[in-house]
Amino acid sequence: MSDGSMTIGAAVAPTGTTRRTLPAHGSRRTHAAYALVTPAAALMLVMLLGPLAGVIALSFTDYQLGAPQFAWIGLANYQDLFADKVFWTALRNTLAYVVIVVPGAVIAGLAIALLIQSGTSLRSLYRTIYFLPVMATLIAMAVVWEFMLHPQFGLVNGMLRGAGLPAFAWLQDRSTALYALCAIGIWQAVGFNMVLFLAGLVSIPKQLYEAAEIDGASSGWARFRLVTWPMLGPVTTFVVVISGIRSFQVFDTVHVLTKGGPSKSTEVLIHSMYTEGFEFFRSGYAAAITVVFLVFVLLLTLIKSRLADRGVHYT
């Protein structure tokens, strides 16, 4: 306590005497600073950086889950990985999934948020309905989707047939399986994005819309371009990055519905990692896939922080 008040005094008083005594205070100050940072730093080390370093280290070994010893094999895992056709398929599928799901989930989330916001009654009902998929476990929901997409008695094909359109074996067909998973991914992410956008919409001052109206923005589109879209900028960045990271992590629907098939058409990075690590017990190899995955996530995070820096004017 006394230490704290003294350092504050030293920091505030701009006189020469305090400056001369500063070294003594300074060292005490750094000690105090380190002491204060320690808990957070320790937690970060144990919870984040430690496992991360572990995974990176593991990717340079031939460790197999449960094996008594392991050897350092350098970049051999990565060489195998980059030579493996399945890895490239998984990477391509993952990127395709991200490229479809992120815009889909962001645009649909924004559209639904705008509709709910502009509607007057039943707002909270709609909000709850769209948020349900977020709260439900995806495994349970995947079972429902399996029924919905069932080639013979699924609801989707039933509706297509009713409309006189051809039916598909959605999850069993190479050409449609990934897109079916994308649709489920969008369905699942929309609720979460919608809630974030709704929070963003609520925080836009109403007066800005009135000013826009007075300034001659008479159409809804003009007001959206002039006020809503720019004011949602920070939220949109956040939503895009979160959706991006979450779609990179896609695993549960793949695991439950397709197991990466048919013929690897829905193989994705995390599913490869799971198969290699927990079915073939090649932990070192799985660690290498994880590192590749982390690089992409890190990239997204960097982009986000760059964009966030540009958004200072919103404060």
Binding site: E210, A211, E213, D215, G216, S218, Y314
Partner: protein
């Protein structure tokens, strides 16, 4: 540029009447201040004129044309909001440009990339730039044009907001307490600038404020609103000197007008604090209220006496708070000469000229008075 006519405007929110039938006519080029205590419905009335709020009944005519059902954007009025409502993501320049771009560019020309490729866009943008630079010159904000609102001070933001309103030469300007976020000094300065702006533009200004000093100093006419009704409209001098209602008398003027309980005798004479005033009226006998402005109270002579309970010396003038002996009444006198302040707790005699008296009935309505001739001799020279 425009005359605005309000007839029988009524508005209620969730069953509570906020405006109770407003009839008012604003002449072309007038500077009208709408004043009144907080919550009396000034902003609501302004928003109804702008079209941002629909009225429950009644009509708004602008230049003789009914505008009910016409969108705010089509009414061609400009509004300056209390919080300025500048677009935070746009620079001052772009903020001022918004009304011009909205009106002069088509929806396709406004598109971010594609619009710039269209042939007419360049020339239009050049005109817009020239217009904005002219406005910025007038408002003295040229060096600030590239800044975002977040990087501007309150007064600078206010000027940008005025610039955004001015730039398209609207039919009328609507201001909703535009100075209330500024510090006292800046407010006085901006007051003068807005009045000057009005003289130059000769446009119709409707200015909402609860600061009666702003209303007194800037407007050609003041409209006083209370509890959803417009109770008096007139020039600042009229409102100040001839209030038609005790609420107007009490609202306008700082410090507040002194109100003393009085009594009208059967013969029309008026008694106040046990003294008969040298004036008569035609009203029925009964209770009444006597109001006298602090600057019309003369200390040192007069039939009344009071004890000094509080002194406020502002340097250029002083306010003496008196407790009238024998009654519970308090009143405030303004002393122009601060060198001769009475001592605290001392007893002073005071009086007031008969023509300084405004009399109101118990319901608050003004009662006309006749001053007896002999009294006029004591009338101070400056009136």
């Amino acid at each position: 540029m425009a005359q605005i006519e309000l007839s029988a405007i009524r508005k209620s929110f969730d069953g509570t009447d906020v405006l109770k039938g407003i009839d008012f006519r604003i002449a072309d080029g007038e500077f009208i201040s709408l004043v009144g205590p907080s919550g009396c419905g000034k902003s609501t009335l302004l928003r109804i004129i702008a079209g941002l709020e629909p009225q429950n009944s009644g009509e708004v005519h602008i230049d003789g044309r009914p505008v009910d059902g016409i969108r705010p954007s089509a009414r061609n009025l400009a509004m300056v909001f209390q919080s300025y409502a500048l677009y935070p993501h746009l620079s001052a320049f772009d903020n001022i440009a918004v009304p011009l771009r909205m009106r002069r560019l088509s929806a396709i020309e406004r598109l971010p990339l594609l619009g710039a490729l269209l042939p007419g866009r360049r020339a239009k943008e050049r005109h817009i730039r020239a217009d904005i630079e002219g406005i910025a010159e007038q408002l003295d904000i040229t060096p600030l044009l590239r800044r975002k609102p977040g990087q501007l001070s309150g007064g600078q933001r206010q000027r940008v907001a005025v610039g955004r309103a001015m730039v398209r030469e609207p039919l009328a300007f609507l201001f909703d307490e535009p100075l209330s976020n500024l510090d006292a000094k800046l407010r006085v300065h901006m007051r003068a600038e807005l009045a000057e702006l009005h003289r130059r533009l000769k446009a119709t200004f409707v200015y909402v404020t609860h600061d009666q000093a702003e209303a007194m100093t800037m407007s050609s006419r003041i409209a006083v609103m209370m509890g959803g009704e417009l109770i008096q409209a007139g020039t600042p001098a009229e409102i100040y000197n001839e209030p038609g209602d005790i609420r107007v008398a009490e609202f306008i003027g700082s410090p507040k007008i002194n109100v003393l309980p009085g009594r009208i005798r059967k013969d029309g004479g008026v008694d106040v604090l046990g003294t008969t005033l040298k004036l008569t009226c035609n009203a029925a006998a009964g209770d009444c209220r006597i109001a006298v402005r602090p600057e019309r109270i003369e200390l040192g002579t007069g039939p009344f006496s009071g004890t000094v309970v509080h002194l406020e010396n502002l340097g250029a003038e002083a306010f003496v708070h008196l407790a009238v002996e024998g009654t519970g009444s308090r009143l405030i006198a303004r002393l122009a000469d601060v060198r001769h302040l009475p001592a605290m707790a001392s007893s002073v005699a005071f009086g007031f000229a008969s023509d300084a008296v405004r009399m109101f009935d118990p319901a608050g309505k003004r009662i006309e008075l006749r001053v007896e001739q002999a009294e006029r001799v004591r009338e101070p020279a400056h009136v």
